[in-house]
Amino acid sequence: MSNLARVKVFRFDPAVDKEPKYDTFEGITFEDCSVLEVIQTIYEEREPSLAFRQGCLNGTCVSCAVVVNGRTVLACQKLAEKEMVIEPHPKYKIIKDLAVDFNEKRRQGVEPLRRTYPTETDGQG
């Protein structure tokens, strides 16, 4: 399948989980979509329990900032790629999944989040 994306999404509920995990979603339409649209698709069609933030959808409000393939981006402004690993913003405390608390800095070490995603994405440029 050439026109469908494979997306790994960071899942972590601090109240329940000890370790974060990654859910993989395959067969997601991604062409001409922003990363946020891909997240919305996953949320609406596959995993309604996914927590993330969205606001203006115009690159202004900065609430949708996430890490895509290791780079911090605005999900609404970043064009989706065929292979993606989506993680929460690295600086702030995780509330759940991709949603962070912008008022609290993340304490390093307490919440594990390193670039631990698998290497299938290598070679994607």
Binding site: D13, A15, D32, S34, L36, E37, Y43, E44, E45, P48, S49, L50, A51, F52, R53, Q54, G55, C56, L57, N58, G59, T60, C61, V62, S63, C76, Q77, K78, L79, I95, K96, D97, A99, D101, F102, N103
Partner: protein, 574 residues
């Protein structure tokens, strides 16, 4: 029952421009203020953070708030509430001077603000930013840079990630609100002496909209259930300059920068500039675009063309150079479209809603203790928004309501909260979470959006269509709404739960628009009925809606023209 209750004097629901302004003013008056936002402060879906270039204020003679009011009322086809218009525009200069003091970087020469013309205004009134000096450049980020940090700096208490779902009333008076703390997933009660609703409009009830997805009229539903009266709900503003090609990330208003910055020309597929033909008939810009497309003269992507070919290349280059660093320019370059030779394609999207709670000059609604501000007000714009009036009305109504609500909170005693009402509302909120299976939130939302797009769009409103849509609304209300269920059951940060609770408000906003549109048997301003294509002097009145048991009561009310006398047949520009 152990429900956590938070007490305050003035409760401000919503933290956009209007809400922030109201909170700041109320605190200046010495009231205890609590501001609620459904997202993170300054990072929520408030539409004012993405506000466009228009930002009008009458500052220097010979211009005056009265002149500004005259333009506003003329453009609103004379069905504005003239008291409200004057109150808002008289407050406007004070808001601008305060924003300047608080750090918004307006373009100034010495102490004098430099202003520019926008269509429909008799004087140059549009505020410009020092950096871009263009009427087309968006000013929302500047508001976002200043207001949320000022709210924090002033020590105003703000609860983030809190979704207010219903207002509490006792003896005909609003006495607080209930809602869910999204982060914790808990039900909470807020007790207040006065409540200011600044929850924004309901443009996201339409399939194609400019706003974030949560702008579906929370406040409309809440105020309606609390007994507020609504007027002018048939008027929905569609923003003409939404690019359909090239499609930069998401629906975006970047085409407007070009349109204003470079005086773009509208053309149909024959290269004909059709706008003048429609303007003479008194139609608005979005209406002319949709009519051209429906007549089969549109562009391949379902819009019409916006051309800059007539602008000399060096002017275009200079403009694009000045826009360096903006997201839209970067994306336009990436898209590879050369605007010097190629026309872009645009089509209107829902932007703002002119109707709302009926208010007086102090932003009070008919429910005592309840104030409406921002997009939730009505009567200011009338039948058609004057360019650049939306944002200033947010600031000015916020300023007025903040002051008056704080004053009222000082003299009224703390109302008692009705425990039974809290329990009923708690049950209502938790029901979709408890239901095993039922109607899906997303499918129902999509259905409402499609329905509104089809039957309540820029043009194409007919008696048959609107009646069909109202039947559909009734069906949704009786068969779908009571069966809504979330598939995600964990209450903490459960977006689906929030969206599930949204739908009731969405349906209320939609129904009010449909019923008003059906009632107004003429075309005026932004309301266009295919079966009544002309303005009718007999319709110089407002359609009023209110709750009556399970039914929505539709009535009309004459307009009082105390300051500006009506003159019929005036063409409206955007």
């Amino acid at each position: 029952m152990g429900t956590e209750t938070t007490e305050t004097d003035v409760l401000v629901v919503g933290a956009g421009a209007a809400g922030s302004m109201a909170a700041i003013r109320a605190q200046e008056e010495g009231a205890k203020v609590l501001m609620i936002t459904s997202g993170a402060l300054g990072r929520d879906s408030a539409v004012t953070w993405m506000a466009g270039g228009g930002f009008q204020c009458a500052l220097y003679p010979p211009d005056s708030p009265e002149e500004h009011a005259r333009d506003t009322i003329k453009n609103g086809s004379y069905i504005n509430n003239q008291e409200v218009v004057l109150a808002v525009l008289n407050e406007a200069p004070r808001c601008i001077r305060d924003l300047d003091k608080w750090g918004e970087r307006f373009w100034k020469e010495g102490h004098r603000f430099i202003q520019d013309f926008m269509p429909g205004h008799s004087y140059a009134r549009c505020m410009l930013l020092k950096k871009t000096r263009s009427t087309g450049e968006i000013k929302g980020p500047e508001h976002r840079r200043v207001l949320p940090s000022l709210v924090k700096l002033k020590g105003i208490r703000c609860i983030e990630d809190f979704m207010v779902t219903d207002l509490l009333t006792a003896d005909g008076r609003v006495c607080g609100a209930v809602g869910i703390d999204i982060k914790k997933g808990e039900f909470k009660v807020l007790s207040a002496k006065t409540v200011i609703l600044a929850t924004g409009g309901y443009a996201a009830c339409f399939k194609s909209c400019l706003t974030g997805p949560s702008v579906i009229g929370w406040g409309y539903g809440m105020a309606y259930r609390a007994g507020a009266r609504f007027i002018d709900m048939e008027f929905v503003d569609f923003y003409p300059y939404c690019a359909v090609w090239p499609r930069l990330r998401y629906v975006s208003t970047w085409a407007a920068n070009l349109r204003y910055g470079l005086s773009g020309k509208f053309m149909n597929r024959a290269g004909f500039e059709f706008w003048e033909n429609y303007r003479r008939r008194g139609l608005a810009r979005p209406q002319s675009i949709v009519m051209e497309v429906k007549a089969g003269r549109g562009s391949p992507h379902g819009g019409i063309y916006l051309s800059f070919r007539h602008v000399p290349v060096n002017i275009i280059d200079q403009y694009l150079n000045e826009a360096r660093g903006t997201v839209w320019r970067k994306q336009l370059m990436e898209s590879g479209v050369d605007i010097k030779n190629e026309a872009i394609e645009i089509f209107p999207s829902a932007m703002s809603t002119l109707g709302g709670c009926q208010i007086d000059a102090g932003c009070r609604t008919n429910v005592s203790g309840l104030y409406a501000i921002g997009e939730l007000i009505s009567g200011f714009d009338g039948a058609h928004t004057l360019a650049g009036n939306l944002i200033i009305s947010c600031f000015a109504t916020g300023s007025i309501a903040g002051r008056i609500a704080a004053g009222e909170a000082k003299i009224v005693p703390r109302p008692r909260i009705n425990e039974q009402q809290i329990n009923t509302l708690r049950q209502k909120i938790y029901r979709p979470l408890e239901r095993r299976d039922g109607v899906s939130t997303f499918a129902l939302k999509a259905r409402i959006k499609d329905m509104m797009w089809e039957y309540a769009n820029v043009i194409g409103r007919t008696e048959d269509g609107l009646e069909t849509a109202i039947d559909e609304v009734e069906r949704i209300k009786t068969t779908q709404l009571p069966r809504l269920a979330t598939s995600a059951k964990n209450p903490r940060f459960n977006l689906e739960w929030g969206q599930c609770l949204e739908i009731e408000n969405m349906i209320t906003s939609a129904e009010m628009t449909l019923r008003s549109a059906l009632a107004r048997k003429e075309s005026r301003g932004l309301h266009y009925r295919d079966d009544y294509p002309h303005a009718d002097p007999a319709w110089m009145k407002n359609v009023v809606l209110k709750e009556d048991g399970d039914r929505m009561l539709v009535d009309t009310e004459p307009v009082t023209s105390r300051y500006v006398k009506p003159r019929e047949g005036v063409a409206a520009d955007e």
